[in-house]
Symmetry: D2
Subunit: 196 residues, 4 copies
């Protein structure tokens, strides 16, 4: 495989040293037969897949609640937290949509689980956000940032329940890649739109 000559360096030199004429040299080449490439970088596709998985998981928990009761919904929520969030890596920066002080931020797995499925006396205001009959999730990104094995997205998430009512929130997610190559959510800030 032959690659064309990069013009990056040439441009930089030309800018800095306008008196340095560049000779016509076309004999530098890079041969890369079957080069193994190891990448820990997160791609846009990785971010979109993680968002899809989050939406799917929310609908799953709601459906499991209706079909299997609270125990089943809780088991699914725990599986989701363990697979898709980074609580195994330490404190997750999680500000759910409907929490209030002094329990606004759910940096622990216990606090996140309470938010999603309720039933924890230590979090008395949590009634179980994921149990509210969700049927569809639509995500529209305003922008995505990719920084090596961490990434960020911001945008709107619209969730529709079984009655057809849609709620839209402003949503920020931060992701980090684990050793198995899966993205984990390490930051989640969700808020209702400002009402003037």
């Amino acid at each position: 495989m032959k690659h064309s000559i990069s013009s990056t360096l040439a441009v930089c030199i030309a800018l800095s040293y306008s008196n340095v004429a560049l000779a016509k040299v076309t004999t530098a080449s890079v041969t890369t037969p079957r080069t193994p490439v190891v990448s820990t970088n997160i791609t846009e596709a990785d971010v979109l897949a993680a968002q899809q998985a989050w939406g799917r998981a929310l609908v799953q928990i709601a459906t499991d609640f209706e079909q299997g009761g609270h125990a089943k919904a809780k088991a699914t929520a725990e599986a989701v937290l363990d697979a898709a969030y980074g609580y195994n890596m330490g404190a997750v920066l999680f500000k759910p949509t409907l929490t209030t002080a002094p329990q606004t931020f759910r940096t622990t797995r216990e606090g996140a689980l309470a938010y999603f499925v309720g039933g924890n006396p230590a979090f008395p205001n949590d009634s179980g956000f994921a149990l509210k009959g969700w049927r569809a999730v639509n995500i529209t990104n305003a922008g995505i940032h990719l920084h090596g094995n961490s990434a960020l997205s911001m945008g709107n998430v619209s969730i529709t329940d079984k009655s057809g009512k849609t709620t839209t929130v402003d949503k920020t997610w931060g992701y980090a890649r684990d050793d198995q190559g899966n993205l984990r959510i390490v930051l989640h800030h969700s808020s209702l739109p400002y009402q003037p």
Copy 2:
């Protein structure tokens, strides 16, 4: 743009919670119309382009020496160091092919320049590696690692002079991306093949 449902999360859950049946939910979607994506990640193409630029620069210095003398070669070498190496970011980890203790490592720009074009009494053993009539550079990578805005490559570099003689070295480069998006060499370890 619609993206297909990710199976990553589902697989993880299935592995950990085999008793959790996954319902058929196909209603999660991600809509990303014209999403701005900001990425600081280095790609394989970036690495290959930086390698090309390095090879081209070596031939350039040699050619400039023959056509314009030492002053011209030195000016080009300085331009190359300033554009393609990361001495502006601090110490570069540079072990050139032909240096010996106690001047084996050239962590400063001055030491690197002395290696490439010689003529510095502080580096008396340097005769100017880049001045030796180089005409062609061929790079064969054994592997590439991509870690966000840093990257690594290892392989062979073969350089051919105007008499047609080719020298092959074992070469490792480390790269980091600067704010302008250009890769800079922050590590360079070059060695002649082991002779049993």
Copy 3:
């Protein structure tokens, strides 16, 4: 400088290969006299300093508005955006506290400037958030994540105006380091606390 023997590797080996007895070997040493260290990593102190700078800048814009009028406040706001935000790096993921659809997200410098100082007909709902007489900013972090040259923080920001009234918001910031070593805000999600 002598460093004590690491037990990390020994532990890993012991766990995996319990039948491999570790001999008493104490002769491995690392000598690192005056080693140059180049780090692009963001520290907790860097994050706290960037937060301080943000708070200070908000008070500065408000004070400049009162002392020098809109032109002076706008000039300061532009200086703040250019120095402390990453619009030079591409789209910033900015969801200000008081914006509404379809102008909720301010991924451009123009949109951010309109939010802070108003006066832009293209953003008719912006009255200039930074002009509201702010005198003090207090930041309480719920958690901080450090991922190389990007970082995240989440917590509460309380801002007090000249009448003594304090407003508290839920705040997420994402940071990236530029070549000059300064942190820039590349993500900013601010929201009023949920009112049940």
Copy 4:
């Protein structure tokens, strides 16, 4: 905990906007009581500990060979490769000191194991580098680079055998952090000093 006001932003603004006078504002503060901080960054201490572990492992393999024969040395070498190298993450960029073409680069675990303990007909020139009676390892770094969860070091490594003979090589290591927080060697370039 109170932190002093950052001067970073002020300086940047002053440089760019010399006509913008900075008011005396001392009311921005950051309160960070018991903030959880999650960091994936590699520190200088992490690098030094990984180097120590490598030196200790080399002596361990040599000692195990003498005390327990080839089988024991091989078991230890396998444990070292699995714990300290990144072959589980993909191709490791490994150029050992004494290998020759076409087997110069050992991007696979099998090739690395053959180099350390020999006995693999697929690598006929390998006699087992780690079996040569090593007793002490001393590492002197020329420089270290820290880039988030990857890092680089370059310098000299001197190894002494049981007869007291010391060999010094030029050594480059690249590291990446795994999920358990341990550094793994993902690049290793070792070469004998150039002999003019």
